[in-house]
Subunit: 174 residues, 2 copies
Amino acid sequence: MQNTPPEQTPPCHCHGGFIAEHDHGPCVNHALERAATLCRERGVRLTPQRLRVLELVWRSSRPLQAYALLEELRVQQPTTAAPIVYRALDFLIQQGLVHRIESQNSYAACRHPDAVHDGQFLLCTHCGRAVELESRPVSEQVRAAAEGVGFEVSQQTLEVHGLCPRCQGGPQHG
Amino acid sequence: MQNTPPEQTPPCHCHGGFIAEHDHGPCVNHALERAATLCRERGVRLTPQRLRVLELVWRSSRPLQAYALLEELRVQQPTTAAPIVYRALDFLIQQGLVHRIESQNSYAACRHPDAVHDGQFLLCTHCGRAVELESRPVSEQVRAAAEGVGFEVSQQTLEVHGLCPRCQGGPQHG
DNA sequence: CATCGACTGTTATATTGTAACATATAACTC
DNA sequence: GAGTTATATGTTACAATATAACAGTCGATG
């Protein structure tokens, strides 16, 4: 587990791979600023509620479910109800800032929201962490295979279950 | 409804592609017989309930949701309750006879249950039909990409949304 | 025929997600 | 800035999806 050189790399290792623990705060802040910029550029409104949900999703080490988010929102605002969460998630998903993990009814922050891309996740069945794969070749091959049978692709989702590097070969918990 | 498949070709076009309507009955019967054989070989019990659910899933031209299945079961047995359906589906999925479509909370018959394989579906957003892709190269490439980041794959699901050949280029309904 | 394990029947409830409508806030126009 | 429109939020109620728990039944096996 070697360190990656800090120069020219994104502000944290979050941008790829199953990684060791680290101070996640700066990554979150950077992501939120980036999201704000993107929304400004797109002329859509990243309201405080939406920002708050995005922050919670980013802070979590694994995908969150809607009602877990709801509970967290209720810490500060006990009257918050389900539609608040779902509306915020709808918006964030539309903007490509959050992905929905279909097989878990959960929601994960998108690590590279700049370019629209397909949802591709590696989901560790042991520690519950999720990592975005974002393999362009896979996307392309899927598209080619679909077009090969005359299917016009608009969206694809890939969810891969298994064991992340840290959870392989031992009973220790991640 | 013959006792044994007389030749080596599959009995209908169901085995691949978005296809024209046809008499689906023989395909269903063949599939159910094949399922019975597989279960016998595996030493597991394809009970009447399970067989009934499998038949309903096969008869449907598109994936069915659990409560839709429940309604159909209730036609013959009005007291049937949700757990019946979910237990049957659990079994059928375990045996690879049915796939769950995660993005739709729905269930589709597996067209080639002989060999265990990954769930890969083309889902038409217009007519609602689903077709299994079953592209081995895609599976392999996904596995390779995952292993490339040290992830040990146990299961993968791919769901591709878009327009099937029949639903492209026109407002007519499929 | 006793017993053990698997399957089914049933009730109740948990979890996940939306409809609908009232209110509030932002953005736009004059 | 007042009026107007569109968008976002607050709130209640409920729909849709899924499971827990336990009692009863059936089937194989010794």
